[in-house]
């Protein structure tokens, strides 16, 4: 919405943020009224925003100040990003602000409208915090890892003498150790210290709340024992974007019926008597939802990438892959036997450099021209929360005659006014993307993945992909769950439930992210993605946040090296439409309280 174009930054605060946050919370509690820029559904014109902004007195007692009033730069920026495109359907002008004519003369108003509805409000392009503390934090983080490593080696040195039985798995007589030194050292001496933050067992549904099974360790995280007690906590860790992780309601009812009619599982590959009417229905529905000719489903998201890329690419082909692409894509590239080059995360300029160089120099050694080149990117990067710069990439793809493969694992359902993913978000026609891949694990509360594309490509996959020929099909309850949730998102159930979920998700995401940014946390990613990574830096913070949040009754995901670069350990909050404002506020408050000890509010300005 245009309202959110206006950037807000905290100014002039006294003491540590609690007081301010209360004021802010109060302001937010005014809720959906048009007065709050956080209200995603606010119907306001740019005129109104500008007029309102003009009335704000910087010296007034308000804790907030509107700093950037001119929406033009971001519009220009936007147009620079997304050149001409053909809209698939007209957008409702009432749903977004009206563009004042005088302000944007050179801009096609229609186009601006469409984009204003989708465009990310703040893009945290430069991730480095401005604070003077930052270099110290980096230094301390490095020191922490050095300390951990040195102590680990000291312990190993003495341990091998004093307790050799603990190292038996590393030195079997006549065998080479089963894992490399680094892997083993990392697991034994660093990972194990935070192991209680990972693989936490749960029971029941991972919805807005989840039920943790309490576990204890008697040997410093080597083994865990379940105590038999359970605990309900707020779930900020599951990819339950649209809140379809449910055991009741329309989806569950339909799945139950489907279980009775179609059974529990089929034990054949698709090609060998394993294609069920449900699969056909699901593929048709998916293609329609995504907006392509045809689609194929696979019963595991990871395998969708790792088995389908090889069906399209082979020797003599080049895959140009974003450096932060998911492991399944990397696995698929390896599996395909084609050459892989990486470009800087979400950087179109670097992509262009790689493409130019690749096309100019051809295949390695022989210098023959490439058979074909495919760019692989993700819609939302799950560890960064960033949205792929699709318009620029589409532009490059056309210019350099490459093919484009977008992994929408996290963006399908979660992005775009209709939840139809990255193309919906950028208003890029789906025909500009050759292959749209996504998973059903996240937004749809099911499992598995799909690939949507033209019929010719899907037929190739159907006939050649490993998943269609060699592995089990998607089980019927999973199929049904996707069909039901898709129907709801598409409004086929005759209600607004689907759209409400999409709106609520966006609303929740922007609310929490904006609060975190304003409070001075270093947050990665684009404004309206449901993945919110908060930077923690120090490895001890990783464990501290992981455990202390649990004590506070909030389940969050913390990630450190080697899943992230050494310095940028982070905590990842996954927003769901099932979350209430209270859930988000609790998470926020917890972070504020923990931040005094962990020093993670590096952008906090206590001027």
């Amino acid at each position: 919405m245009a309202a959110q174009e206006v950037e807000r930054l905290p100014t002039l605060t006294t003491g540590l943020g609690v007081g301010n946050d209360n004021t802010m919370a109060a302001e937010m509690a005014q809720g959906e009224s048009a007065a709050s820029p956080f209200a995603a559904g606010a119907k306001r014109t740019l005129h109104e925003i500008l007029a309102e902004a003009a009335h704000v007195d910087p010296s007034a007692s308000s804790t907030y100040q509107l700093t950037s009033l001119d929406p033009t730069p971001s519009t220009k920026d936007l147009l620079k990003r997304n050149p001409a495109y053909t809209p698939s359907e007209p957008l409702d002008p009432n749903s977004v602000g009206i563009v004042p004519k005088g302000l944007l003369e050179s801009v096609d108003a229609d186009e601006f409208l469409r984009k204003a509805a989708h465009q990310p409000i703040v893009t945290f392009d430069d991730h480095t915090p401005e604070s003077w503390v930052y270099p110290i934090v980096v230094l301390i983080t490095h020191l922490s890892y050095i300390t951990l490593t040195v102590f680990g080696h000291i312990r190993d040195f003495f341990g091998k003498f004093l307790r050799p039985q603990g190292y038996n798995h590393l030195k079997e007589e006549g065998y080479a150790p089963l894992y490399s030194d680094f892997e083993s050292f990392y697991t034994r001496r660093i990972y194990i210290r935070t192991r209680d933050c990972f693989n936490r067992p749960i029971t029941g549904v991972a919805g807005a709340r989840l039920t943790l099974l309490e576990r204890v360790t008697k040997d410093y995280n080597k083994t865990f024992q379940l105590t038999g007690r359970t605990r309900e906590v707020i779930n900020m860790g599951s990819y339950n974007y649209l809140g379809f992780a449910q055991n009741e309601g329309r989806c569950a009812d339909e799945v139950e019926l489907s279980l009775r009619a179609h059974g529990v599982s089929y034990n054949s590959p698709r090609a060998e008597a394993g294609t069920h009417a449900l699969h056909v229905e699901l593929e048709k529905l998916t293609a329609e939802f995504v907006g392509t000719e045809d689609a194929i489903v696979c019963s595991m998201g990871f395998a969708t990438n790792s088995t389908i890329i090889p069906a399209l690419m082979g020797k003599g082909c080049l895959i140009v892959s974003d450096e932060l692409n998911h492991a399944s894509i990397i696995n698929g590239c390896r599996n395909s036997g084609s050459t892989t080059r990486v470009f800087k995360h979400n950087c179109a300029a670097d992509l262009e450099r790689v493409l130019r160089q690749a096309i100019a120099s051809g295949q390695p050694r022989t210098h023959r021209p490439w058979r074909k080149i495919m760019i692989i990117v993700e819609g939302i990067y799950s560890m960064e929360g960033s949205v792929c710069d699709l318009p620029r990439i589409v532009e490059l793809k056309k210019k350099y005659k490459c093919y484009l493969y977008v992994d929408e694992a996290h963006s399908i359902g979660a992005l775009g006014p209709r939840g139809r993913g990255i193309c919906d978000y950028w208003a890029v026609p789906t025909t500009d993307v050759d292959i749209l891949m996504g998973t059903f694990t996240k937004s749809f509360g099911a499992a598995g993945g799909y690939v949507a594309s033209s019929k010719a490509i899907i037929d190739t996959i159907r006939a050649r992909a490993h998943s269609s020929i060699y592995s089990e099909t998607m089980p019927p309850p999973v199929c049904q769950q996707v069909i039901s949730s898709l129907s709801i998102i598409m409004g086929r159930d005759g209600t607004n439930d689907g759209l409400d979920r999409i709106k609520k998700l966006r609303d929740n995401s922007m609310y929490l992210r904006r609060r975190l940014v304003d409070a001075g946390f270093v947050v990665y990613g684009d404004e309206d993605t449901p993945v919110i990574p908060v930077l923690l830096y120090n490895p001890s913070n990783v464990r501290h946040i992981g455990t202390s949040f649990l004590k506070r009754g909030i389940a969050v995901v913390v990630v450190g090296f080697p899943a992230t670069p050494l310095v940028t350990s982070r905590m990842r909050i996954c927003i769901s439409s099932a979350h209430t404002r209270e859930d988000l506020d609790k998470t926020f408050d917890a972070l504020i309280e923990e931040s005094t000890e962990t020093m993670i509010r590096l952008n906090y300005k206590a001027t």
């Binding site: 798995h169 065998y175 080479a176 990972y191 693989n199 067992p201 029971t203 989840l210 099974l213 599951s238 990819y239 992780a245 055991n247 569950a252 009812d253 139950e256 019926l257 279980l259 009619a261 059974g263 529990v264 089929y266 034990n267 698709r270 090609a271 060998e272 008597a273 294609t275 069920h276 009417a277 019963s299 990871f302 395998a303 790792s306 090889p310 082979g314 998911h326 492991a327 696995n331 390896r334 599996n335 130019r356 096309i359 100019a360 490439w370 074909k372 080149i373 495919m374 998973t439 099911a446 499992a447 159907r462 006939a463 490993h466 020929i469 060699y470 592995s471 089980p475 999973v478 389940a555």
Partner: protein, 581 residues
């Protein structure tokens, strides 16, 4: 030699002052006095040494500051932007979809779509067909208890887990299943993968890296090949199930290693328990002996053998009497015998735990839906409770089918034309054409021709009016119903009734659903077989020969087996005689 008198005294004073200042500045740098001290001493002791030292430092600095040589990054020829633009303009990529080959089209055209449950029967084209294609060895997908369990689990857990195992995706249902499987197969720990293909394809690369050695059977199934290939280790193959060749390969590797003085790397032998592509059982006793002797780690993939071989269903290891302790990784799919989805790897605790971080298909993938985990758990319990009834029956069925088919083939005069390779215990029977036999003399070497022929047989058996006789089907089903003990295990046609499908709200929909899926209401059809399908050009190193893979289930009745054998033999005869008439 110039003297100071030649210079202006003022200049000298200035120089001296400058020198003194410079000295003071140098001295103020921490550690500088020591350096100066060292240099002056060095100069006094040996001027040449000082010269050499300074030279050395100079060379070192120059080396460190010099540009690194990176052979991969810098292109040999630097092109101008205009030249690159021209190259871009000239370059024409191939179309993205690879052109479909005849074999691809055959696979596409031979997809059949069924409705309702998949068990002993399949509803294809609104006909109730006997199913000899699904890998439903123990008839678990027909068991009503598993379906009831699934309905219950749905109300406790929903469907998806919405996260990888590391991030709140580990359910108690998974832990229970892992423990039960580990106990069942007799290993310390098991790890679940949500996709059967991913289990073996992730397990091998989790340990085997570049420079490691993998010795693998040449007839290993595709998932195994992928796991081996993606690990980038050095791969050596040995002749299918040929222990002498395996030993020769191991000896050769060891000899090369010693000759080249290479360090010890990780070494693996990868075999299948019951080979999917050939229906043979691996000689695991010898393999475990060789493995110990040559110090290799052993990976056994047993998706077809798990639940079907051995007295209690513990797979090929139990069947051959090998020592499970010598099998480092026991990998199998849960989708075949246990009516679930996904697969598992069982082994020692330390070793398996490593996969929770390094097994890509585990770490980076959403965990298995609770319904599937609990379904498998329930199936495992059934298998444990009644191994005799299931495995004994499966074995008897398999033997009976082979016998019946052999008999029927003989009656049809095809005994020399069609062969049934593989061991008698294998519930997947490959039906192959014998090249060069009198009837097939005209069949060329073209793989595609042969596949087409087999596909014609499969289609004939399902829909051919001259082959399929509904009356026979009814008789076979009636005979099955009379086997009372079995009838209880597999209640009539998966036990679904009209009432089950009726929701109070949507009677119309329920009726439509019932008419499409309720097997009871459908007329009898033919028998569903399938060709064994392969992605031929991607199979390494030897594509398996073409065959029809007949899968026997414990749920089949004897009369039904007889009927399937008769239909298959008849279809074969008709198709072959029509083709080569």
């Amino acid at each position: 030699m110039t003297t100071t008198s030649d210079l202006n005294p003022e200049t000298v004073a200035l120089l001296e002052r400058g020198l003194r200042l410079a000295m003071r500045a140098v001295e103020s740098v921490p550690g500088a006095p020591a350096v100066v001290n060292y240099l002056s001493h060095s100069y006094h002791n040996d001027r040449w040494r000082l010269f050499l030292e300074i030279l050395l430092v100079g060379i070192l600095t120059k080396y460190l500051l010099s540009k690194k040589y990176r052979p991969r990054e810098a292109p040999a020829v630097v092109l101008t932007d205009r030249e690159i633009d021209q190259l871009v303009a000239e370059w024409e990529p191939e179309p993205l979809p690879m052109p479909l080959t005849k074999a691809d089209n055959l696979i596409l055209d031979s997809h059949i779509v069924f409705n309702g449950p998949s068990g002993k029967y399949l509803a294809v084209d609104s006909k109730r067909c006997l199913n000899f294609a699904s890998l439903n060895f123990l008839g678990m997908t027909d068991r009503i208890e598993i379906r009831h369990e699934a309905e219950k689990v749905l109300r406790d857990y929903g469907v998806g887990t919405c996260g990888p195992p590391g991030f709140y995706g580990t359910l108690d249902a998974h832990l229970e299943l892992e423990t039960s499987i580990a106990n069942f197969v007799g290993k310390e720990m098991a790890i679940l993968y949500s996709y059967g293909f991913a289990a073996i394809a992730s397990c091998i690369p989790a340990y085997a890296k570049k420079g490691d050695i993998i010795v693998v059977d040449e007839a290993a199934s595709f998932a195994v090949q992928r796991g081996v290939y993606v690990s980038r280790a050095d791969v050596h193959t040995f002749k299918h199930n040929d222990m002498a060749d395996l030993e020769a390969v191991l000896q050769k590797i060891e000899k090369t290693r010693i000759a080249r003085k290479q360090p010890l790397t990780r070494r693996f032998i990868v075999v299948e328990g019951l080979y999917q592509n050939t229906g043979t059982i691996c000689d695991l006793v010898t393999v475990t002996r060789l493995k110990t002797q040559y110090k290799y780690r052993l990976v056994v993939e047993d998706s077809f053998g798990f639940g079907t071989l051995g007295k209690t269903g513990r797979g090929a290891v139990e069947h051959t009497g090998a020592d499970m302790g010598k099998v480092d990784f026991y990998v199998a799919s849960l989708a075949n015998s246990l009516a679930g989805a996904g697969g598992f790897v069982a082994g020692a605790t330390d070793v398996i735990d490593h996969q929770r971080l390094a097994g890509l298909g585990y770490t980076f993938s959403a965990s298995m839906p609770a319904i599937m985990a609990r379904a498998s758990l329930r199936a495992l319990k059934i298998l444990r409770d009644e191994p005799e009834a299931l495995i004994g029956r499966l074995r008897a069925n398999t033997a009976h089918f082979r016998q019946a088919l052999t008999h029927q083939l003989k009656a049809a005069g095809l005994q020399d034309t069609v062969e049934l390779p593989g061991v008698v215990e294998s519930p997947a029977v490959h039906v192959r054409l014998v090249h060069g036999s009198p009837l097939l003399a005209k069949l060329g070497d073209d793989r595609f021709d042969e596949e087409c022929l087999l596909e014609a047989v499969v289609t004939r058996a399902r829909v051919g009016a001259d082959v399929v006789d509904p009356a026979e089907a009814e008789a076979a089903e009636a005979a099955f119903a009379k086997e009372t003990a079995v009838g209880q295990m597999w209640p009539s046609l998966a036990g679904t009734t009209q009432e089950d499908l009726t929701l109070p709200a949507d009677a119309e929909k329920a009726a439509a659903l019932a008419s499409a899926t309720l097997l009871n209401g459908l007329p009898h059809g033919g028998v569903v077989f399938t060709r064994a399908k392969y992605a031929l050009d991607q199979e390494l190193p030897v594509p398996p020969p073409a065959s029809i893979r007949v899968v026997i289930s414990a749920a089949h009745g004897q009369a039904e087996l007889d009927r399937a054998a008769a239909v298959l033999a008849k279809s074969l005869k008709l198709v072959i005689s029509e083709r080569f008439a």
